[in-house]
Symmetry: C2
Subunit: 281 residues, 2 copies
């Protein structure tokens, strides 16, 4: 399947945005990447909840934004066959026009929804596990922007540019103080002594929707969850390591630079719980 993406901008089929859009000028906006399974967006409520929280944090205000996005999604489903696609990207910017950093009062946000095919993830990474590396890039501490999925992503671009070996599937990042945070495109969880460890994302990083769901599912299954600040050595002493995001679901980590792990039972249990949850949601 090599179907071209299909895009609605402010409810209209289009493929370009105004050059004056603040999303381009300043990265003044937010996005969500949602998995489509048989045309159905997975965990859509959690994605929209994070988007809403991001809009509040950036003071992107529109009384009709979320109703309009709902209409966009319905419109999209009438215009194209959602089953043909694997990814729904939702992008909201503060809107077009004005100049200077001060947002104009009453700007209409720009809404962009795009469906595209699923990226190719060869060699069954969810089953076989993946090889990852430490990045040299560090994430800056920015509590006002931490957690939300905003459009200022140069740190991720630079970090992801550190390697081009396709066998290395992800790079892991620490913050500028040396605490482990996440991957360039995924969140990071690990197990040590039956406890599921998750780095806090209150100073940097993206609070992933799948991360949130997996932590809920783990807690409901009686697995102890510990969110905190951890150093590299704590991660490297883990019994099991995993990555998660909305497209990859959960990937076990089997190689981190020169260290190796087997895929462990908690990772398999969480993969299974998430798969069941997807069937229900």
């Amino acid at each position: 399947m090599n179907k071209s993406p299909f895009t609605l901008i402010n409810g209209v089929a289009a493929d370009s945005v105004a050059v004056t859009d603040r999303g381009l000028a300043y990265g003044d906006g937010l996005f969500e990447t949602v998995q489509l399974r048989a045309g159905r967006p997975l965990l859509l409520d959690l994605h929209l909840e994070r988007l809403r929280s991001g809009c509040e944090r950036l003071a992107i205000k529109s009384p009709t934004l979320f109703d309009d996005l709902q209409s966009d999604l319905e419109h999209l489903a009438r215009l194209c066959s959602m089953q043909d696609f694997g990814v729904l990207k939702i992008l909201v910017t503060r809107g077009a026009g004005g100049r200077g950093y001060l947002p104009q009062v009453g700007m209409a946000p720009t809404r962009i929804v795009i469906v595209s095919v699923m990226p190719d993830y060869p060699h069954s990474p969810a089953q076989a596990g993946v090889r990852v590396r430490w990045c040299d890039m560090t994430l800056a501490l920015s509590p006002r922007l931490a957690g939300i999925k905003h459009l200022n992503r140069l740190e991720q671009v630079l970090a992801r540019s550190e390697w081009d070996d396709p066998d290395i599937r992800e790079g892991l990042l620490c913050d500028t103080e040396g605490f482990v945070v996440e991957g360039t495109m995924s969140n990071l969880l690990w197990v040590r002594g039956k406890v599921l460890h998750a780095p806090l994302l209150d100073r940097c990083g993206v609070a992933g929707v799948v991360r949130k769901r997996v932590l809920q599912l783990a807690a409901a299954a009686g697995i102890e969850v510990l969110e905190g600040r951890f150093g590299k050595s704590e991660l490297e002493q883990a019994d099991e390591i995993m990555l998660c995001n909305s497209l990859i679901d959960i990937w076990p980590v089997v190689t981190l630079d020169a260290r190796h792990w087997s895929v462990g039972p908690v990772t398999r249990a969480l993969q299974s719980l998430l798969a069941k949850d997807y069937l229900a949601c």
Copy 2:
């Protein structure tokens, strides 16, 4: 004068960019804001030098980019009357297409050049001086992105959103460690005991073109220049404070929250040196 902006995108008159542009998706690009005086771009060489340095830092590679930009500016001058405008904005992104944070090899950067009228700065701020405030927002430490004028500007948007009193012309920012850095849209310089002080911009902030030129002019005029890390109280004990950027030139600060200054002799001397330099460049 209320003339509409005129825009060239990749050399063609246009007003929209591809929705797949990485400038929009990730803020993966750079910009320059250049003052036009009688149609002539001021300090253009310094702007292009910073843009080139930004492209190197972000690994935005194109052997023809700067020749193409030169052609764009010549083309622009043929298509519209540059004398009618006061501002030239140059924006370069890594280009359109691909997906995920990893840049594709051989992407063609997107070039955008826009001319527009000068913003309105009422009440002769360069002459009378301006009122400014401290921002609550702090700038994150990000050495890999410091100094260059990239498109990830949410910190500036949030900082500028802290006030809407039009009598307050700028907000001053410290980094997350409490060192004074810059204004939301300008660089900050001050004089104490005949020494011109300038915050280092190696961990955050934008290394302004006018800042650079003013420091050169000051040094050439025998004024001692000290770049370093300074706290709020060091700024507040200054004899003279000034802001500079490519559109405002140099504005004296006469009020910072509850403190007041007169416009001092070094500020006036630097304004005069910069004005003469503009005539020569």
